[in-house]
Amino acid sequence: MSAHGDIWPPLIGLSLGSFGYGLLLLAKGSMYGLAGIFFFIIAMGGFTLKEIRTKRDKDSYESSLPIDHPKFAMWLFLFSEVIFFSSLIGSSYGIRVHAQSWPIASQVLNVPITAFNTFVLICSSLTMALALDSVKKGDNNGLKKYLMLTILLGLTFLGIKLFEYSHLLSEGYAPAKSLFATTYFVQTGFHGLHVLGGIIAMLFLLGKAQKNHFTKENHDYVEYTGLYWHFVDIVWILLFPIIYLI
């Protein structure tokens, strides 16, 4: 059975757009936004019911993609995250360029500690890559060790970030008080939430690794989580110089 000519992909795409636009209308006080959200619920619900009812073989879909679907799905998600962070960082930088005054980062923020924090995240990317390398060699102990190290490094990053936040808040740099503080907390806050999400995913992986779930032949979810974690590292690699150095 071929997936070509199916109405559901464009319908779901439209419903997602209507959901977003519906939220926007609701935020502006227009109840017409409910129609967009209603359409989204109907479309997603209908697709879910159809999928549950359809019996199919594992190999019934033809695909011209040369990579497996879950990996492609992760990459598509990361591409959407590129757009998300581009809009976040772009609008924050646009606000900065337009602002009448902007504090010098090194006078407000702790650049050396954050440079160290950047190094911590780079180390976590290494340990994540080594975790995948270990499981590909059939080394489950190596996988567990490097996953634990990655989680520890991720938590260290978040800990240092929270320390920085508490220091900034005590100095009066709260989100509502200035454009600088708002853009700083929004950008780093969203990034921090992504780091937290990655840590939660890795905790699940570690739980499975403890039960020797992953093998040389079966370790795809380690790779997919690794892709997400490296992306989170890339975002910080770009965010750190934009906020702290330039």
Binding site: W75, F79, F85, V97, A129, G226, I234, L238, P241
Partner: protein, 91 residues
């Protein structure tokens, strides 16, 4: 197919990333003009990002269709960021 041991590659990339981060920090302490500092740091950041994508995310070994999609998303993201910044930028 036996998996090729990538440890040395990963450690080399990690060392390069750490060194470039140090270099970015050092550039801010030089007497270079703000424009030159910005260009140098931006270029180094992009290089770091590309290294992570190519080696840690294995994009080098992925099919070309995926590479084109990645390029497209980066291009779209850059265009979006440009239009968010450009109306307010001044030379």
């Amino acid at each position: 197919m036996e998996h090729k041991d990538m440890r040395k590659t990963y450690i080399s990339i990690w060392a390069a990333l750490a060194a470039i981060t140090g270099l970015e920090l050092a550039i801010t302490y030089t007497g270079l003009s703000k424009v030159l500092q910005t260009m140098a740091i931006a270029g180094l950041s992009v290089a770091k990002a590309l290294m992570v994508i190519a080696f840690f995310m294995h994009m080098l070994h992925e099919p070309k269709q995926l590479k084109y999609m990645a390029l497209a998303s980066l291009a779209l993201g850059s265009i979006l960021a440009f239009f968010l910044i450009a109306p307010h930028a001044s030379l």
